[in-house]
Amino acid sequence: MNLISIAFLVFCAVTLITYFIIPKKFQWIVLLLSSIIFLFYNNLSIFTVVQALLVLIPSYFLGRKIEGNSNTKKGKRFLILGIIIIVGQLICYKYINIFIESANLICELLHSDRKFALIENSALIGISYYSLIMISYLIDIYRGTCKSQKNIFKCALFMSYFPILTSGPFIKYKDVENDLYGEHKFNYDRALKGFIRILWGVFKILVISQRLGMYVDVVYSKLTIFSGIYTILAVLAFPLQLYTNFSGSIDVIMGISEILGIKLPENFNLPFFSKTITEFWRRWHITLGVWLKDYIFYPLLKSDDMQELNKKCKKKFGKKVAKKIPLYASMLVMWIIIGVWHGGAYTYIIGSGILQFIFMVLEDLLAPVATKVNSKLGIKEDVFSYKLYQVIRTYLLFAFAMIFFRAESIEQALFIIAHCFVWNLNIMLDEEFYYVMPKIIGLDRYDVRVLIIALVVLFIVQLLARKGDVREKFLKQNIVFRWGVLYALMFAIIIFGCYGEGYDATAFIYREF
């Protein structure tokens, strides 16, 4: 069941109606049943249930055991056991192919003819999300941040709450506990706000992301035909496609949850206004960043081994350098994990892992140098033009890394990079170009116009969002304006939504992760 489909619409409507008409103390049971149906419907296999139970049952019982043993050795043993079980099954189901690929690579390096066949990806929708959520649940109980859930069915709801199973955001037990099991009255204002958010998300996906996607897909699938300006445009369009798709689906998810009365943490904060890659990752997929910081990065940095490394470096290189070495080492580990989590293929490890790490280290090392050079040359850093340059630079760096993320192999990514450097801008002066191109790329002049207008609307909304909650401001307007805009948005989705031929209008780029 895709987030944008008639099936999901009906599913949500039934869930919402049932949720608000039954006695409030049973509301959480409706959510649990909906979540089970959602999981099962998406994967249509008995393995779905087995897989989910394999995570739920150990997490539940170990959670109970850990609770009385917070911050003790005994508690730690239960915690480690829980993490091994959850990570173990995640690796088995999701990442088995990367081991096979690595084995094949080693065989190739050793000039052996042996090749292992890849295993059909049997990873289930939601598994990456609920695995990480349950790890955080166990760690939080161990740390004493939250108490364990006594009722296994309530625990099951926390693990499988349906809106977040396709693309997050990651939740923490302490943050959602009260909302998830609490009693909620239907609230018109809240429902309207949720509805606006859902519409905005659908607009981003169907009007913007799908159109950009048609172009990007054509270029990436016919690499030998396109070069120069076409390739550059595809490379530049992909981050926007990914963003409108991913943040759009998050909007739909947050909107549904808002109507239900369950507050979820924000996952995006206008990432394309970031001045550095470091800042970008504080604004993009925020809940994954927080998860990694709380459960991997901080414990790693604070570990005795890293502190030992810090001390040794201090003696050898002095205080300033010593501080950086454990930091970079921990960052490297974390970024490799992000790459692995994103899918495990080498293209992901490079694109959404190692390259991001390199950018961040370079930023950290070069920032003081750049400041010195700028002050010598008399370049002001605190002016609009300089900030604009930084924002564009961040976008370009991210777009560059995303070439690897989007490409099917490292060779393909290198091929694309090489083909960006072909001069063919003059083609655009050729009249014939405008008749032939729409047929090849599947976007005609009308599509391009719609796309540009939609991107301008997106940009304006984002500019407004920098100064506060756009929906709050919107709801304060007069009723005629409010409903005018809402209808305009609805009709824009219906008329300009892109349900292109042969294009799966509902395939979310991020749902695979």
Partner: protein
């Protein structure tokens, strides 16, 4: 006792953030000190642990909201 802790904290903060002007107050947060980001947070925590001879647990590291809360934990643990 609190004044003494704040004095010692000032020393640690100045050392970590290389800024002799820093004076921390109970309501000081990461937003008030330019370089206090998530990366520098752990260096600060470890330096404070060494200064006061105590250990924060990870729950405290990730949930403390300002210097005031930090000082409360230090007092509780060094008593």
């Amino acid at each position: 006792m609190k004044e003494e802790i704040y004095e010692r904290l000032n020393k640690v903060f100045r050392d970590i953030f290389d800024d002799e002007e820093i004076i921390v107050k109970p309501e000081t947060t990461a937003n008030d000190i330019e370089d206090w980001d998530s990366l520098e947070h752990i260096n600060l925590i470890v330096a404070i642990e060494q200064e006061f001879g105590m250990k924060f647990n990870m729950n405290e590291v990730t949930t403390m909201k300002n210097v005031g809360e930090m000082v409360d934990i230090i007092i509780a643990k060094t008593r």
